[in-house]
Symmetry: C2
Subunit: 197 residues, 2 copies
DNA sequence: GATTGGATAGAGCGTTCGTTCTAGTCCCGT
DNA sequence: ACGGGACTAGAACGAACGCTCTATCCAATC
């Protein structure tokens, strides 16, 4: 649980964003005090309000974007691991389970906790979370479309795939077990295959 | 968004628990200050610490239990609505979508937000959340077992069904649309049917 | 070498947090 | 009538919150 990035290799702004993303991934928005944030980012309050005049909220939006890209990278890697989309989705659950356990069940979805907490409270942050979900759905849909799935079925499946991944990751985290994610992987593979072209 | 229960028809303890459950459903644990809680429950700080010497944390555990039962009731109703388990699961998503929209997208799962926020921070609350998830899985598994599904497949399916419901409800909430839930319903029905005995 | 502006630094502001504490009210058994 | 436990009531407390503010540092530029 060291600071995210070393002071010499990343700019202050980037360290703030990465640290905020990691802390919000673990505890959401309200559980991430700005003072702890700047301490772990090896920055100061002055720097935070210099780069983010909008304060904690503006930083949170940037952090959600960062988490969005981070999760998207894992998703891309898993989806590219197998040509068959059903097997690819199952591969993603394997990657997620691995990363989750390796972090001692701390690194769940970098967006979910904040999304649920800020719904109807911080519209900017909520919008960033919604964008992240849509982004991930697009990645899954693209894989299905590339495999010859019909447009509508591909888009619908992508929604459910991402939703199930989110739910299973949360349950795996709360129960500290890979099982929910791996079970979701098997079931999603079966579901995706059942729509095969 | 009136107070949960009227002062004359419910005891103070019950009003506190219901109000806490509702507020935590909307914003999680940290977004629910005790003073607002007490005000909306038409109670006072003295009453809160009389009934819950463990303070906010102890009340939160009771609130999660209440939400657990509330969600379980909806789950039972949906599952009982149809004899066929696949159709029954789809019926549940319909009920969830209806309730969510009727609340102006506020009343999502009464446990998820708190679960993600307290993981690794408040073990008592986290344990209550884990118990709720297990409880819901049991209800789904019971329906499948009663319909003749093999033991292992019924239990595995129950895990994924509940996870997908959670994920879809969250996405429906964040995007303010019934679609994710209803799509999940169709897919879950297909998945459950594909394991039919 | 002086000037300048981006970046750093953290003390301190007003507010709100969860909790404690004392005082008071209510109601029931005797 | 009265004693006593259950419950109500909210002022007050220390800690922690997000944020503002002034001061300072340090390259780049003239």
């Amino acid at each position: 649980m060291a600071a995210t990035g070393t002071k010499t290799e990343l700019g202050t702004r980037e360290r703030l964003v990465r640290t905020a993303s990691r802390l919000m991934q673990h505890g959401g928005y309200e559980n991430t005090p700005v003072k702890q944030l700047v301490r772990e980012a090896q920055a100061t309050l002055g720097s935070l309000y210099h780069f983010f005049p909008g304060g904690k909220q503006e930083l949170a939006v940037a952090a959600i974007h960062f988490g969005d890209e981070e999760f998207a990278a894992l998703l891309r890697a898993g989806l590219a691991a197998r040509p068959d989309p059903a097997e690819a989705v199952e591969a993603v659950t394997g990657l997620l389970a691995e990363a989750l356990e390796a972090s001692d069940w701390r690194d769940g979805c970098p967006v979910t906790a904040t999304a649920l907490e800020t719904v109807g409270r911080l519209p900017d942050v909520q919008a960033a979370c919604a964008r992240a979900f849509a982004h991930w759905q697009e990645l899954v849909a693209a894989k299905l479309l590339a495999s010859g799935y019909p447009e509508q079925e591909a888009r619908d499946l992508a929604v459910t795939v991402v939703n199930t991944l989110e739910g299973a990751e949360m349950t795996s985290q709360v129960t500290q077990s890979r099982t929910p994610l791996l079970t979701a992987g098997r079931h999603l593979a079966r579901l995706v295959a059942s729509y095969g072209p």
